[in-house]
């Protein structure tokens, strides 16, 4: 009896943890403060690489300094209930409240349940990374087995040491890897404040609305997609107002990734700011154009005077099918 229990205990201890649970816990505050240097690489037509210096504390505060060729380009601080993004070159900070995860239509557990319905998640062992033992988490789309995520998770701290993100066609979208990881010496600094002389702008936190609410708030007739890729559901809607006109942002989730559909009213024009793009054909639409972004693909088109934009990891043919279903 005792031998059986002992064997059972050993087996339980050796069994790898749940992959989705590992991914969820990786987003939680660390047990002890650390600093890390993270290399982020994205495929946007050509590969773009950045270094991010991360400092994190058990309180939940995280500071990220994103560096580019000319030095620190942005500082992003998440501090209690606020998110700060500061641009040193412009001496400007944007401050906004963090969205309340409980305000979402689907709670975190529901999203993870959806992810487990759509994806097969496996956890295995792998050679140490940065001298640290790690679990290798692989996330595959259940329909065709396509690899969508690969994560190396620190067994002791639960941190993501390395991550790779793939599109449905197997194309690498982005990756990150810790180049350095060390304990954070000293106590947690005071609450984040912008440097002296910086202009502070107030940003708007994302909201989680129903369709009818978004229609009333925007003055637009909501026109969500009638077809979305398998596994995706409409999670919530938000209303954006980049200028004088309101847009509707439809957010679709498959538990792991996000598909965004934006609807802009007539007499609006999309500004692509020099991005390389190509004309594509979308049945029943005018001026359809596609381009690559770190988030995956962007497809923009016009129909009946309205402008629409899709952003997501899906392939072009899938996005076109979504676009063709938008009334």
């Amino acid at each position: 009896m005792i031998a059986s229990l002992t064997i059972l205990a050993v087996l339980c201890a050796a069994a790898p943890p749940d992959g989705l649970e590992l991914m969820r816990r990786a987003g939680e505050p660390p047990r002890e403060a650390y600093s890390a240097l993270v290399a982020v690489s994205e495929a946007r037509g050509k590969v773009k690489e950045r270094l991010v210096s991360v400092s994190a504390w058990p309180s939940g505060r995280v500071t990220r300094e994103v560096s580019g060729p000319s030095g620190v380009e942005r500082v992003i601080a998440v501090d209690a209930d606020l998110e700060w993004v500061c641009w040193p070159a412009k001496k400007t900070c944007r401050r906004r409240a963090l969205p309340d995860p409980l305000a979402r239509r689907f709670a975190p557990d529901e999203e993870l349940d959806r992810a487990s319905e759509n994806y097969a998640v496996s956890v295995g062992t792998v050679a140490p990374l940065l001298g640290r033992k790690a679990w290798l988490v692989e996330v595959r789309w259940k329909t065709d087995g396509a690899l969508r995520r690969r994560l190396w998770v620190d067994r002791e701290r639960g941190l993501v040491l390395k991550a790779e993100r793939y599109g449905p066609d197997g194309q690498a979208l982005s990756s990150m890897e810790l180049r350095k990881l060390e304990r954070q010496a000293g106590g947690e600094p005071a609450r984040f404040a912008p440097p002296p002389g910086y202009r502070v702008l107030d940003g708007v936190e994302p909201e989680f609305l129903e369709l009818e609410q978004a229609g009333a708030a925007s003055g637009l007739e909501p026109r969500p997609a009638r077809w979305v890729p398998p596994g995706f559901v409409l999670e919530s809607v938000d209303v954006l107002k980049p200028g004088s006109k309101a847009l509707i942002h439809y957010r679709y989730s498959d538990g792991l990734s996000v598909l965004s559909l934006f609807q802009a009213p007539p007499r609006t024009r999309l500004s692509f700011k020099g991005r390389t793009r190509e004309n594509v054909k979308v049945a029943g639409a005018q001026r359809a154009t596609a381009l690559r972004a770190a988030e995956g693909l962007v497809l923009a088109w016009s129909r009946r005077g309205h402008r629409f934009v899709l952003v997501g990891e899906s392939g072009l043919e899938t996005l076109k099918k979504v676009a063709e279903s938008v009334p």
Binding site: G27, V66, R94, L270
Partner: protein
Amino acid sequence: MTCEDIRRTLSAYADAQVSPQEAAAVEAHLPGCEGCARQLRWIRAMKAGVSRASTEMPADLRAALLAEARRRGAPEVEAALKAKGGHPPASEPARRPSETLSLWEAWRLSWRLTAAGVASAAALATAVIVFNGVRAGTEEVPLDGLLEAHRSYALTMPAADAELVYADLGEDEE
């Protein structure tokens, strides 16, 4: 190829900058399509006007542009065209919405015309762009703002790729 496909290539075809296959497709399509053929004549007329470095705009072209400006309610374009001479026709010619240049073709043409440094061509290019719906009162929506909204929402997902998303947060904002 459909008319939409053909019209996307007409400007390049007029410059002899298409592949042999595309040229063959255009040449096979035009005899049976008056709309596309008319559009090609219009493009060639504008390009010919630029190459002559002339301030003279073909009379029939000016008339057609003025009529279109009036139809679309673009008084500033109408004024600019009248300043170059010519008068709008007594009656506006019937014109199907599909018989206009695509915005991409108009932009491409305007860039080339403006780079050529011909003043009248710049005015003409402005008129062409206005024809394609870029009118006073049209508001610009930056794609960067939409991507930022996408990222902000992505961070609310329980299994978010936080470092990947945060590396882009605020990257494109002015």
